[in-house]
Symmetry: C2
Subunit: 532 residues, 2 copies
């Protein structure tokens, strides 16, 4: 994830990226109240943040969200010492005022079952010379009885002048079985490295054939995005193997949060190319998280033969994916349910950001398939089931809280039937998150325009994908107080988004245009995740 | 335009088209109250329709709309006897009840200047054996001191049984200088013709190299759309030349409302392919009106070498285009500002449908360019002009009525500036038709979701196109009480749509996200068109 600057600075940075250097300004203001530890902040100021967060009516029940301040990329997603571990970028004082403190580190959660998460606390703070201006993103791998963390430390030179520049270091740390982290004194890889700019970050570590590899996002001197692969025998000495070579053009000015893994006998590359323009109904969000599938990466020449890349998620809010392997071999995905620089309605409560509900990945026909992890059943409470034939608007009753695992199977003999599911709806179904299965046009559409608070309308309030026309379409929605994750046809397409509606908008409606449809549904109310 | 059936019958027809024969039902009910002339309908019933229409708050001021009942395709667009003539498909009793009469003919308007239109009255009724079930669409060409009309007469056999079939005839008629039409006794072309189904209609007549040609939409026995070209020396004997051959695949199950003309040294084919699936951000409406540009058609082998086709208009409501040549040589376009089977909010007032404001066409770089005809200046009344630098929401004051010719030039030095224009807005700008110039994603977006009455949401409430990123973007909007025609960058892209908002939603707002923009505007309030 890129640095989090106040909006004005971000704008300046964009100009800088895309047009070479338009204008730079000094960073004096940004770091005026730089602290390396929350302990250095007066309790009064901390309490102001915490109390503000309490006032939000939009708190999630089954998603990890920021305690206060801003949550960013998931980091160090791993299994170690009998627990799943999931860290995230944390900017606790991001929305503080009088003064606006700067602090950026990792916050730590752990879980026995992927659904109940215990907040452990801060794992790393920006307290060394190498990560003074931010403990940026990274990953983790268990090494003997410790968890090895590899991450990017951000530093700046000359922040008082307009001639600042970025010093990125790939750093290491070990977390012991008591969840205490000790940073290594010296960088594993010193940056910037020759041929690349200071945008060099987000190391994703993995082991293959007895060697350690790290895949790291980078920007070439020509201001194009790429990923570099490093290798190490001992986790101390790291050698650059080179840039990954792809069949497709490496669009964008920077690639962030890259990942590589092998699944179902294929190689999968994940990356977040910044600076993509929209194309048809693709790449509509400000920033994208993409994947490419091909034969397994050839580590001798770094040639990856996937022919194209596409978005991992077609919704409004999905970025910075990271994967891990569960003890039973499943490849599990986490991601940030947000887009950078988003003008979130939560900011006024002095917090923002949550992670997606963990998903199990598979590859079918060179497509990434995503499903909520099966452990979700541990959250099930009341069930609602039914079968109906539907044409006009009908309500489906399923509890009074927007926290559900909703499964619809919709079948019809009418080729041109257009089925509509409205979630987060008010009693009269005037406002809602609308899902449209348009068989006539082979198109699935999500409409957020009438779903509560206006939110990033300037990137459009509809998202859509091609809908395979079959007799029956399955739609599954993981619904939480302020989010929806929509899985079409068993996870062939996924749409993830935040939705901010009043609490009384908990209704669900179904209708059909052109003929009628048979609707089978199974809805599970979900309990709040346990934090103990 | 295809037959106008009650919704249920239409659904049946769709199934029939796309899946061969799923089910047919007899047409007894449809034609129970078939009349060939409004004179055969009790005055009381007619008055009910007329009075209902008066109650609508959505009447247009500068667009031809239906007096009562439903307006369909523009027909017979031509210049003759010192007037522009424009007919349209008319179903005056379409929304009548107790009983629901069936009558379908042409309604006639004429104009000296393309902007003030006189309603002449019914031009043709469904009163012969060949057009008993509908005077369908057609075209016109001046021949000496008369206007020759060539059109499709629709007939059915066995309407009382489930084994009905369609008999399409291409018919002729002459209109004299007193605007009286006399139909020819015998068909010019009897259908159905060998190798094609009963879907054979919408003859567009033109003269070239001393010969008359007619381009006619058709469906092959294999249920694919195409166009046929006929030729004649004398307007009486017509010979089939053959099917037009294209480089692109002839998608769709039927091509309606085809047209061919030459412009700026290129050949242009217009057609309305039915049955297209959506593709990215294209072909989103239920039905499409498309064009292809190539070298001029070779009339010997009917080979047209345009390589692709695209939509004429990227908006929500545009179908059945027809063109004519003005006395000064301009190629002028009319079209139906609607999509078939639309669930229009006007239906409850017992009328629906209007035509677009006439547009002048040109071809630049193999793209069709459209502009409102220059005669629009005759409608100008009060002008509002200004220049501003804008970031936050600002109102632009320009009168209290949504009937304007609005021109914006928006320039900025910020690459990522996202400019927003809200029209049809309420005082607080909560509801509006939103136009988004998203430079960051090279995307222009129109959002209708918050613009008054919900209307065909099931086909999506956003439309978009690629936005060429230049320092300055020009946007022109022809706004009427219940419609907007949006011309991007001098007519490179056009978005046409109906919008149904309360009268007090006449506000205009502009804002910008990321940096600021310079906005130059020139807004002309428009007088109502004169009908005398």
């Amino acid at each position: 994830m890129y640095q989090y600057l106040p909006l004005f600075l971000d704008t300046i940075s964009f100009l800088f990226y895309q047009n070479e250097c338009v204008k730079m300004i000094n960073r004096r203001k940004q770091f005026e109240y730089l602290v390396s530890n929350l302990k250095d902040i007066p309790k009064e100021n901390l309490n102001k943040e915490k109390n503000s967060v309490k006032r939000s009516p939009y708190h999630q029940r089954i998603h990890i969200e920021s305690l206060f301040g801003m949550l960013g990329d998931p980091n160090g997603f791993s299994y170690f010492n009998g627990y799943y571990h999931l860290f995230h970028q944390w900017f606790p004082m991001k929305y503080s005022t009088n003064p606006n403190y700067f602090q950026q580190g990792w916050f730590h959660w752990k879980s026995r079952n992927l659904v109940d998460w215990i907040p452990v606390g801060e794992a790393m703070n920006n307290d060394t010379v190498f990560d003074k201006y931010g403990v940026y993103s990274g990953s983790a791998i268990p090494i003997n009885n410790k968890l090895f963390l590899m991450y990017n430390g951000n530093s700046w030179t000359n922040t008082d002048t307009d001639d600042w520049h970025r010093v990125p270091s790939q750093l290491g740390a070990y977390m012991n079985e008591n969840d205490n982290v000790a940073k290594l004194a010296n960088p594993l890889i010193k940056g910037p490295i020759s041929g690349y700019t200071g945008h060099f970050r987000d190391p994703k570590i993995f082991k293959k054939n007895g060697k350690y590899y790290s895949i790291i996002g980078a920007q070439t001197k020509a201001k194009t995005g790429t990923v570099l692969i490093y290798e190490s025998q001992n986790l101390k000495l790291w050698n650059k193997v080179g840039e990954i070579k792809t069949n497709f053009e490496k669009n964008g000015y920077m690639w962030e949060c890259s990942d590589y893994f092998e699944l179902d006998n294929k190689g999968v590359v994940l990356f977040c190319p910044q600076g993509l323009k929209s194309k048809g109904n693709q790449f509509l969000n400000a920033f994208q998280a993409c994947y490419a599938i091909g034969n397994k990466l050839d580590f001798r020449n770094l040639y990856f033969e996937g022919k194209k890349y596409e978005e991992i998620d077609s919704g409004f809010d999905f970025y910075a994916p990271q994967t891990m392997i569960a003890p039973d071999g499943r490849r599990i995905l986490s991601a940030w349910m947000s887009i950078m620089n988003s003008n979130s309605p939560l900011i006024k409560y002095h917090y923002d950001g949550c992670l997606i509900f963990p998903r199990e990945l598979s590859v079918q026909n060179d497509k990434l398939i995503q499903k909520p992890v099966s452990e979700i059943t541990k959250l099930y409470t009341t069930d609602y089931k039914g079968k109906r034939t539907i044409s006009k608007n009908q309500e489906i009753i399923a509890g009074l809280v927007n926290c559900r695992d909703i499964k619809f199977d919709i079948s019809t003999k009418y080729n041109n039937a257009i089925s509509i599911i409205d979630l987060f709806a008010d009693r009269k179904n005037t406002n809602h998150l609308r899902l449209v299965l348009n068989r006539m046009k082979n198109r699935f559409i999500v409409q957020r325009g009438k779903a509560g608070l206006e939110f990033e309308d300037e990137f459009g309030n509809e998202r859509s994908c091609k809908l395979k026309v079959e007799n029956s379409v399955s739609i599954r929605i993981i619904q939480d107080i302020s989010s929806a994750e929509i899985f079409i046809n068993n996870g062939e397409n996924v749409f993830t988004m935040r939705v901010f509606v009043p609490k009384d908008q908990y209704h669900i409606f179904v209708k059909n245009v052109n003929g009628e449809v048979n609707v089978k549904y199974q809805i599970h109310q979900l309990r709040k995740m346990s934090s103990e």
